[in-house]
Symmetry: C2
Subunit: 515 residues, 2 copies
């Protein structure tokens, strides 16, 4: 081979000059990236540059990837290529696998996305092609962003139905041996609104099938899966989950990553990066997850308020109608509960602290947070009314009875035992209580900054960490009275949280001292 001949790789994919894969272990989230030295022959011959799209083939598999180039003499030698972890997984690669490259072929859905950008409606088939390409990783982040942007303000009802159905159809779907499989969901998490464990206990105690999967925290100090994990194992495979549900009718497990509605997992990360929450995409996201989990009846809690994700009652109603309407067309019986989203619920914010609130409610502790109990009973009551045995309007009464007579607590214990054993939530090694510097009435609790300080204290990575609130809106406090306590496992993290508090004005806003 002379210097003028292809030295590292085949330029058009006939397999004569493959590149050798090296695992660099770079996690780009879902984007498939191929790293190649900029002096690689194939880059020069084909004109590949950083951000070119290429088809990478090995062992009969092919994936599309975005090119990043490495400095000659750096991470990669001529003849070598690296892959991002997402690409590595999709190609089922091993160290030393030989790959060939060629220019990326046309992606079928690109034309549909460009059409949507220019104002054309996406029909059912076009939407399915887009979602299939999303799931197969054929769309770069730039195209995913373009798709989400083009849809954000313009999806009509039929398009939302098409998107939801395509997201359901491109994932797995759980099946349960019951015609009535109930579920609940809260749109736009409200700090501390940890009703799910209580709702599942009540519904299962009443004989409803409620195989609940929950997520971990993404931007909050705790997700339901994080809270439950302080009480019982939640990382169950499908078979173990089925055994729990067969025995107890309900479960409270972590939903895992991406088997169900994998399109949603990909799209939602881009939506979050753009801070875009369009109603259409929200509906498709929520309903596709619920349908994939095998639910037939879904109660959706929509907290609304000036600082909640849903700002006004009008938007909440509009969202509710869309959820119910789209649900009907994808075979889900959806009902909506509009709730107050103006203030945090419960006292603890962080996995173990929220678990303690949940336990207090289930155990009928007289000091249990009343707002959490009442909210959970409202939601559980609405869920119970999916049952043909419970009359419209009769749900909350039944829920309260089941909670107060201890049946819900027994059921919760049984579910936890079936999942691997009920345990005591951990307590943090360090606490620090912040007191009122003067007397006054509590006017406002800042959800966003309370959440932030709980995270600085270590939640949810340290399950014992977080923030415990001692006052509610409307309470009158004296100077020196505790407002909240920080819980942390490490001095450093407690320090971060305290530094943050020093820089920020009152998270608990007090009014003038009462006369």
């Amino acid at each position: 081979m002379t210097a003028q001949e292809p030295s590292c790789c085949d330029a058009h994919g006939d397999g004569q000059h493959p590149l050798t894969l090296r695992r660099l272990g770079i996690d780009t989230h879902q984007e498939a990236v191929i790293y190649m030295p900029s002096d690689c022959h194939v880059c020069r011959a084909e004109g590949f540059q950083a951000r070119s799209r290429v088809l990478v083939s090995a062992n009969g598999h092919s994936i599309l990837a975005t090119v990043n180039q490495t400095t000659p003499g750096g991470l990669l030698a001529p003849g070598e290529a690296g892959l991002s972890e997402a690409a590595w997984g999709r190609l089922d690669a091993s160290e030393g696998t030989q790959v060939t490259l060629r220019h990326a072929p046309a992606v079928e859905s690109h034309g549909a996305i460009r059409g949507k950008i220019h104002g054309k409606r996406l029909g059912r088939e076009a939407m399915r092609h887009v979602v299939e390409d999303v799931v197969a990783g054929r769309l770069s982040d730039i195209y995913l962003s373009a798709f989400i942007t083009a849809c954000a303000a313009t999806l009509d009802f039929d398009e939302v139905v098409s998107l939801t159905q395509a997201m359901i159809d491109t994932g797995q779907r759980l099946e349960w041996q019951s015609d009535l499989v109930v579920d609940k969901h809260c749109v736009g998490g409200l700090l501390g609104n940890r009703t799910t464990p209580i709702v599942v206990a009540v519904a299962a105690a009443c004989g409803l099938t409620i195989p609940k999967t929950s997520s971990r925290a993404i931007t909050s100090p705790a997700g339901t899966a994080d809270v439950m994990e302080t009480l019982a194992p939640v990382d169950l495979d499908e078979a173990a989950m089925r055994r729990v549900v067969e025995r107890e009718r309900g479960c409270l497990v972590w939903g895992g990553s991406s088997r169900l509605s994998p399109a949603d997992d990909i799209l939602i990360r881009v939506e979050r990066a753009l801070d875009l929450d369009s109603l259409g995409q929200l509906v498709a996201s929520v309903l596709s997850k619920k349908a994939a989990a095998g639910s037939t009846h879904v109660l959706i809690d929509i907290p609304h308020g000036p600082k909640a994700k849903v700002r006004s009652v009008d938007t909440a109603q509009q969202l509710g109608r869309l959820l119910e309407g789209v649900g009907r067309l994808v075979d889900l019986d959806v009902r909506v509960l509009l709730t107050d989203g103006s203030r945090p619920i419960g006292r603890g914010f962080g996995p173990a602290l929220e678990a303690r609130d949940v336990l207090a409610v289930l155990q009928n502790d007289p000091n249990a947070p009343a707002d959490l109990r009442e909210r959970a009973l409202d939601v559980a009551g609405a869920v119970l009314e999916f049952s043909p045995n419970i009359s419209a309007g009769g749900g909350p009464r039944v829920a309260r009875r089941v909670l107060e007579d201890g049946a819900a607590w027994s059921k919760f214990q049984a579910i936890c035992e079936a999942q691997g054993g009920l345990r005591e939530p951990p307590r943090a090694a360090l606490t620090h209580t912040v007191e009122a510097t003067r007397a006054g009435q509590v006017l406002e609790l800042d959800n966003r900054r309370l959440s932030r300080v709980a995270k600085f204290a270590g939640a949810p990575a340290d399950p014992a960490a977080g923030l415990e609130l001692h006052v509610g809106i409307g309470d009158s406090v004296e100077a020196g009275q505790p407002l909240f306590t920080l819980h942390a496992q490490a001095k450093g993290e407690l320090g971060y949280a305290l530094d943050y508090l020093e820089r920020e004005a009152d998270l608990v806003r007090l009014g003038k001292e009462e006369a």
Copy 2:
């Protein structure tokens, strides 16, 4: 320090626990990426994940970057971080620089972009904020894509003016000591349409100031800068360029990368990735570059045809009106020439081959390609009419006289000498001629595939490489008559081009044999 304390990096930027930079040499194009081990304390404490946006600070500089995570024990040790080359440059980093991280602060223009997504017009100030954030690298690729998508179909006239003005104002602007500084541009390159060197020679020979900067090829076998580089040095700094223009009135240099209209360089790569060409963005891109180059009068050649970038005469006219109208409001006198874009121009496609066509025209060679000569005279004539000394409609006649009497060729030689010396374009080591397999009339020349085979043969990286056409549309050929010749420097590349030809049907389509 105990295991529970922050071990690698400060969580909120007060400088106590910095990360140490290592240069990984990864070119992501323009996106600033920070690579961090996933077990880094700061990732855990702050909840950073792949795709989180962070503020990276060192030595009083700060940049926004997107997080990629590396496998523990892999590329980076705890306490280390890497940066993409774009981030490395923006932060002016060195090996071992200490950086601190915090959550990315709000980016001012995000709200404006979300507003645009939801249908709000972007006012002048909002547009300026967006473009400033583009130039400062504060927008992730995902946001750049969202901005481009949201604007693609919806920019109104005032928004195009605002975008153009903001793109001009956020870059440098050259100034020339003349009230009449002319320029020309071709929208949507047409294969072989290398009129620029001829137009500059004619205009400068007539005494007009024409400080021409050109680009290198992006998707074509040659850009004007690539062609000129086979004839003279083109990589001149601003001072050298000024000396050439002072002496000869004109120059033909490479425009360099990003000083002029840096926003355009960033946006255009994302537009290309999306294959989106909206008229508004095209106008802003072209006019901002021309204004930044210090031009006062610009002639724009718009080739149109079914396979050209501009498909119809209607679109060409619409684009022309927008260019002229927006030009007026950003102080550019813009005139438009609609031309035939249905067939390639000249015979050679590739830097040296196109340079030979240009030389043949300038030297009044009787075998010079007539289509290139006539097209160049049309454009040069229109440029000359910007001069108050040349009457409307009189330009082409003056241009032809200056070409035919050798004044243009003398001026071209003088410009090349001033740039560092005229040289002979290289000849390729290898050639291969493709002949007609039967007699017939040439019905069609496939621009796109002719361009592709020229690139396979090595153009523009090998300046001598490319494709030389021996026939034109309408010609009658005999079996065995040469259709085109491939030029290549390396056997491998010639082989790629031949393989491609074998797989593809006729690039030169022949009709039935004439009776």
